[in-house]
């Protein structure tokens, strides 16, 4: 994880934070009546918005870009190829497992 220069003003970040909170809340309400496949799609979008917010606030983990690359590449499949999209999520989860194990090993070496 790296600290980056903050390029947005506090007010701009707060506005995006409100966008993010509204997106998550309205998605949660909408999902009671929407197709179940919207759930994974909205969660992924919510995750991207959270990462984008953190980046605006100066926090970014380059390794997560690698972890999420599979989902980002297959994002368009979310509605048309649910199995394909689920597989992309699996790939990202396993990437995250590998990243977590590597981090643990590094900590143990220190």
């Amino acid at each position: 994880m790296t600290s980056m220069e903050v390029t947005k003003t506090k007010e701009e970040i707060l506005e995006h934070l409100r966008d993010y909170v509204a997106y998550t809340l309205t998605s949660a309400k909408g999902l009671y009546r929407e197709p179940y496949s919207y759930g994974p799609m909205r969660l992924m979008d919510s995750l991207e918005k959270a990462l984008s917010l953190l980046q605006e606030a100066g926090i970014k983990d380059e390794n997560l870009d690698q972890v999420l690359s599979s989902i980002r590449k297959e994002r368009w499949r979310a509605m048309t190829d649910k199995e394909g999209f689920a597989q992309a999520i699996d790939t990202s989860i396993l990437e995250l497992v590998n990243l977590s194990i590597d981090s643990k090993k590094k900590e143990e070496c220190i």
Partner: protein, 174 residues
């Protein structure tokens, strides 16, 4: 473009260029709305054309299904009271939504015939949109249509096989 070519070539657009729509396009959208038929000619629906960017931002905030940054949004609203008064029970219970569906088709085809991308959206929080647009009690938002110039090429359309969707003379007969 011929009408049938407009119908066959339209795709949903979810990513837009940052440029406003000319007045002529908005006028065509308005004409499409006013030309769309309604059961019993009740004309009970209402349409809010939003171009103010701060209003669009607010609507987007409470509409998870609305992707990209559209130049305009048409909010298609039903009016239960007017539907009952002008069209009776059937219009109140069913036809008012059918009428909005027909109007939506007119709007997206009018937009596409002008080279304007569009996408109908139902994933939004109704009470929030109602408050943002200051809709009266008996008027409810039922569908949003985002409008703007597409910044990405359209994806190929995936359709079911013709015989799955269309029968001739009797159900299941092709």
């Amino acid at each position: 473009m011929e009408v049938i070519d407009v119908i066959k070539s339209r795709r949903s657009t979810r990513s837009f260029e940052q440029r406003p729509l000319p007045n002529e396009v908005i006028q065509d959208i308005e004409s499409a709305i006013l030309s769309s038929p309604s059961g019993s000619n009740a004309q009970e629906s209402h349409f809010v054309v939003v171009q103010d960017q701060s209003q669009i931002h607010l609507i987007k905030r409470f509409a998870p299904g609305l992707s990209g940054n559209p130049a305009a949004i048409v909010v298609l609203c039903s009016n239960g009271t007017a539907a009952l008064e002008q069209g009776g029970i059937d219009t109140s219970e069913v036809l008012r939504f059918v009428n909005l569906g027909i109007a939506a088709s007119y709007i997206i085809l009018a937009a596409h015939s002008n080279g304007v991308g569009n996408c109908p959206v139902r994933s939004f929080h109704g009470p929030s949109i109602k408050r943002i647009l200051e809709l009266p009690n008996n008027v409810d938002p039922e569908l949003l249509i985002s409008l703007g110039y597409s910044d990405t090429p359209p994806r190929p359309k995936t359709s079911k096989e013709k015989q799955e969707v269309i029968s001739h003379d009797k159900y299941g007969s092709n």
